[in-house]
Symmetry: C2
């Protein structure tokens, strides 16, 4: 790899080597150039980008994967910074402005072109995870009374400054409302003199609002195989577009967040090795503390059954086994339902169908584990590996019955939790495996000891 050589070149970079490296980078895919720049110090990256042809520097700065792009732009000579910001895509400029400190934000905003300024003002106020925060204002739109030829000519003129030209949005010349989305592929195969409204199928375009959640945006892309979706306001005026590359980034981000949440922690906003030690502790300690406090109820439950515990210490041997089985079956059910709800295979109103399915499933799985448990105890007893005492058969029966009860309970709780979260307005994907396990643990103990009281009272208890 030439990462290392490049790194060293840049380490003692004077202008000559910077322009040298700039030339090398210009012959690469922008994303590969980004990876190399990410290895360098900010000041070296600044030197190289300043030496690069502007249009190629724009390609590189447009990549969200470039670390410290805000610092780089802040340190570039102001003339160059302004030129680049005006040429970059508006959604990316917005992301970068959000990272500037106040002084830099004011300094650079003042020098921007009118169009970029207007776009920034529009885009900066949408909350994260919404279509508005993903969108860009650089789209192609033409009035409905234009011809195919006029539209194509317009596209040729504005192509450089548009995020995508593969979807053309046709608006009502009077109301400015969005009428139709036309695919470029249909446009170039149409007769030049035809009206733009004659191109493609006459169907209402798929649209989103600026506050549509990014997960719903992604669902629409998946469903309709879109390359871009127009964002419209209440008057059906198009205010921006979300393109498929931003949707893929959003999906990846959602996937990371959902995995971390399911693992029982807060989502991080930076890569693992870049997050500070204290921040990492905060993201993990919160949920860990909440779970610990809830799990303390198990100690209370055990204290409540201390009499039984003292009389039958043998019962304690199976506590971890039984409790973990409840947590495991709950975790399975939760992961199933999180995805079924995310993919909208199921709706909130289907909760009872799921409950009716999880009940027999839990009973069957519990019986399966209960059987293994009984076989285990019997085998150890018969083979003389351990002596569970004269009432070992009753103990085996207790363990078997408890497993049926706890696995069924775990499956039910695990499957209902995502519904409950959705019902009270949370993302079903906020359900975490540790949380389900904790919910099941306390009740699991109560189930276990209650069954023991029924089976063993008069003998052991």
């Amino acid at each position: 790899m030439n990462d290392l050589r490049l790194n060293q070149d840049a380490a003692n970079a004077d202008l000559a080597t910077a322009s040298n490296v700039a030339e090398q980078l210009a012959s690469m895919q922008a994303a590969d150039a980004v990876e190399l720049l990410n290895e360098l110090d900010v000041e070296d990256a600044v030197g190289i980008l300043a030496e690069m042809p502007r249009d190629h520097a724009v390609l590189i700065l447009d990549q969200p994967e470039l670390h410290s792009s805000a610092e780089i732009i802040a340190e570039l000579p102001p003339v160059i910074a302004r030129e680049l910001l005006d040429a970059m895509s508006a959604d990316r400029v917005t992301d970068i402005f959000q990272q500037f400190d106040d002084e830099t934000r004011i300094r650079l905003a003042a020098s921007l072109g009118q169009e970029t300024k207007a776009a920034l003002r529009k885009l900066l106020h949408y909350p994260p995870h919404t279509a508005g925060s993903l969108m860009t204002t650089e789209f192609v739109s033409v009035p409905a009374n234009w011809s195919v030829a006029a539209t194509l000519q317009h596209i040729r003129e504005v192509e450089r400054s548009r995020e995508t030209i593969y979807a053309i949005y046709v608006t009502d010349p009077r109301t400015k409302g969005l009428l139709r989305a036309v695919a470029l592929r249909r446009l170039i195969t149409s007769e030049p003199n035809d009206s733009i409204m004659s191109v493609g199928r006459d169907v209402a375009p798929v649209t989103v609002g600026p506050l549509t959640d990014q997960e719903d945006v992604a669902r629409l892309f998946r469903k309709h195989d879109l390359l871009a979706v127009p964002v419209v306001n209440d008057d059906n005026h198009i205010i921006g577009i979300v393109t498929v590359d931003d949707v893929i980034d959003a999906m990846t981000q959602e996937m990371t967040e959902d995995t971390l949440k399911f693992g029982g922690m807060e989502a991080l906003n930076k890569p693992y090795m870049q997050i500070g030690f204290v921040q990492m502790l905060r993201k993990r300690a919160g949920w860990l503390g909440v779970l610990f406090l809830s799990e303390m109820l198990t100690a209370s439950a055990m204290q409540y059954f201390e009499g039984e515990l003292e009389k039958a210490v043998v019962l304690t041997l199976f506590i971890p086994l039984i409790m973990s089985s409840g947590g495991n079956s709950g975790s399975q059910a939760t992961s199933l339902l999180i995805r079924a709800l995310a993919l909208q295979e199921l709706r909130l109103k289907d909760w009872w169908r799921v409950a009716l399915r999880e009940l027999p499933t839990g009973l069957a799985l519990g019986s399966f584990l209960g059987m293994i448990g009984i076989i285990r105890i019997t085998t150890w007893q018969m083979a003389g590996l351990y002596n569970y005492g004269p009432h070992w058969m009753l103990i085996a029966a207790t363990v078997g019955a408890a497993l049926i009860g706890i696995v069924t309970f775990g499956s039910l709780v695990g499957s209902m939790l995502p519904f409950i979260l959705q019902k009270i307005g949370f993302d079903p994907a906020s359900a975490s495996a540790p949380f389900v396990a904790t919910l099941v643990d306390v009740t699991g103990l109560v189930i276990y000891f209650s069954i023991a009281l029924v089976f063993l009272s008069g003998t052991l208890l």
Copy 2:
């Protein structure tokens, strides 16, 4: 909603209503039409699709979201079925052929056009989850000695039969090797008489092989913001393309599989409500059984410490609390590392960096929980809520120290497991929260009792 009306219309569908419904569907987005068709019986859907303009039926059948598309095509009049299959995209036809029974496959394959047959032969033999299984053979490629005008003319002629025309692949006229990928947007803004090789930047195109894993394909799309990627063989001949809509579907599928695996079960191949009861049991019982068998080691560990248990029943009160904390911290660390490896923020060789980070993190988190635990015991004791005996301070110290040990151990095991899985050739995302919890549980018990032996021998033990 008019789902219901449509449903009833179709229920007593004669030819007249079928053509009526067909007309309604033709004015909708194809994906919406698919949702309505999914509500109907196969025979009603067959009647409606047969009545529809062919090009619109193709749009609908091209949607992977249409359930039972294989059954529908099998039941269509053979002439119509052949016409539709020849017009559909080759990757979709391949998916559908994989679902046919042998009789239908042979019957329909015989009647297909040459081009479709050739594509099917090519595509049918790639394993799932590879670029080959996602790709289609309907792409635009032109020799490098063509002009921009000739290329545009060619695109106009073949547009209807191509999956995408937004990327044009330029090949060496002699070797047929892939030289360049040209974006249509650059093409339409170029001079008609220029050579196709003068369009766009002179960089090597991003390519994949037919056996490239679909996760790696998705990573390339994300990195390079692609709309399509060419699939090339060992001779650098382009044999197909993967388009962004298929990548989004693959990402969604991967996300579902990874979530289910992290939840501790096998991935399903069907939506929750459509999977049979027995199949659902199988997908869940496998891992549940394995985890149960592993967790049995906790019973063995407890049996080993039975002497201590009998002497100090008070120790059992905190077993669920302590064990779950180890599992929870392990689950957090695993979810973190699964994502860091999936996003390639970290490589296999970085394992020791992670271990060096998780060690202090685990110690800090364990101390935090240990502190809460000690406060809990002290408070209950002081407030007279429970009597832990004369040695309650030693018990509190035992619980606190055990939490530090177990949370540190959990964080280490949880963070190393994804690395180990990757090292031995598995997907790091195969690590599941229940599996980590089980790994930690047994060792957790040993840690707890060992610390108890140190702290309490001479007093309680």
